[in-house]
Symmetry: C2
Subunit: 250 residues, 2 copies
């Protein structure tokens, strides 16, 4: 199995490449439109055919590279089936493993950041991993104040689903804003300031309600853009439109 963790610094997004060494097929989890060229170059260098892009959720802070990668490489667009846009070709859901060559990912419905958010569990013996999207970050979690966000739902997604996994399961989040790359379930159970041991639901809900975060600077165009699988919306700011326009296939 080939694995790469890739970083897009403008939105602090981690994209993950998983590829099967036998079939040379790969999947990119949460690709970003800004880094489509980098991703294509990496796939070429590794000799991997991109079979799928796969989203954890509809992002509000960047445009997905799904549409651009499909146009360039013929990859199919996978995303949670729940509330999926028409452009999604493969709807994933909890209970149905998602396969790419010999790689098996188990989708886990983990609402709270968005209503349809899914994490993906790779339950391999030697290095169990979970790609947690925005529902669980390293010593943090995604915000819960828009897009169907719900702090109670997030608390239960993390406590009931993610924290029931083995302590040594590696946690790979969709973002980190402090240069951290990886954590583990045991580490987050013990140490996550918002959600770790001893944190109660009521206190978490109150904490999230009191955050008063700024309105996401890209949400107005990123959400509709991502609902079209990464189409660059005409109302995006000039600098962003330039960045994504050359990948946009109209």
């Amino acid at each position: 199995m080939i694995f790469r963790q890739l970083f897009e610094p403008d939105s602090s997004t981690y994209t993950y490449l998983l590829a099967c060494e036998r079939t040379r097929e790969g999947v990119l989890i949460d690709p970003v439109i800004d880094t489509v060229d980098r991703d294509c170059e990496l796939l070429r260098a590794l000799g991997i055919t991109l079979a799928f892009t796969l989203e954890t959720h509809i992002h509000a802070d960047h445009l997905t590279g799904a549409r651009a990668l499909k146009a360039k490489l013929g990859s199919r667009i996978a995303a949670p089936r729940m509330g999926a846009a028409a452009c999604v070709e493969v709807g994933v859901e909890e209970g149905t493993p998602f396969r790419v060559g010999d790689i098996v990912l188990h989708p886990l419905h983990t609402p709270g950041h968005t209503a349809a958010h899914h994490a993906y569990v790779q339950d391999q013996e030697s290095a169990p991993r979970v790609f947690t999207g925005d529902v669980l970050l390293i010593d943090g979690c995604g915000r819960t104040d828009f897009q169907g966000g719900d702090s109670r739902a997030l608390f239960h997604s993390v406590h009931d689903k993610l924290f029931s996994m083995a302590d040594e399961t590696l946690v790979y989040p969709a973002h980190d804003y402090g240069g951290r790359q990886v954590s583990s379930i045991g580490q987050e159970k013990r140490g996550n300031t918002r959600l770790g041991h001893g944190r109660r639901e009521e206190a978490f809900v109150a904490l999230m309600a009191g955050l008063r975060l700024p309105y996401p600077r890209r949400m107005a165009f990123a959400v509709p853009g991502n609902e079209a699988c990464g189409r660059c919306p005409p109302d995006a700011p000039e600098e962003y439109r330039e960045r994504c326009a050359r990948h946009d296939q109209g």
Copy 2:
């Protein structure tokens, strides 16, 4: 490949089990005498034959389980060849891969905590890992004030050898005192308070010289005990002698 991270809470030591799925042979890195029964039970449950125990260095804070595991399971005792005690059966050294079934570990001479300290690199495509012993801890490092410790050497072991590895290489330390389990090279390069980006050798040396750490409570018996591969020394404190006596084969 089978992988388990095991914790001994009294000395906050991580022991790592690696085993080959094909041959069912395994190695325990830095086993602790206190947890020999747990380790035997786990090996039995997984159907693994313990081929080796492998030390990163001569520990001063606990007794190794190497001798007891050899007595119970017939495992061979491996440790850095450099300055190895007579009881060490397999001396490892940089440049010579250490193999257990299909598992390959690359020993890396990483002095600083002790003069003969070695880290072990598992250079697998999907999840490169380094078992860093006490030379690099998560947001920390081992002390450098005894057993041939040398803060300059430690600085260079980390900066020249460990930090030259790929950012996504997982860092598995021999200890953690804060419930953390795993880090990565990139994360430590950026975030390690003592050794990360921008930390200069002179400042690190001054920092280590000024730590004024207490004398390790077990060093007087742990070091000679470990120089005999985990023999319980007669001058160990009563409570410790009881814990290890039943494993001691004289």
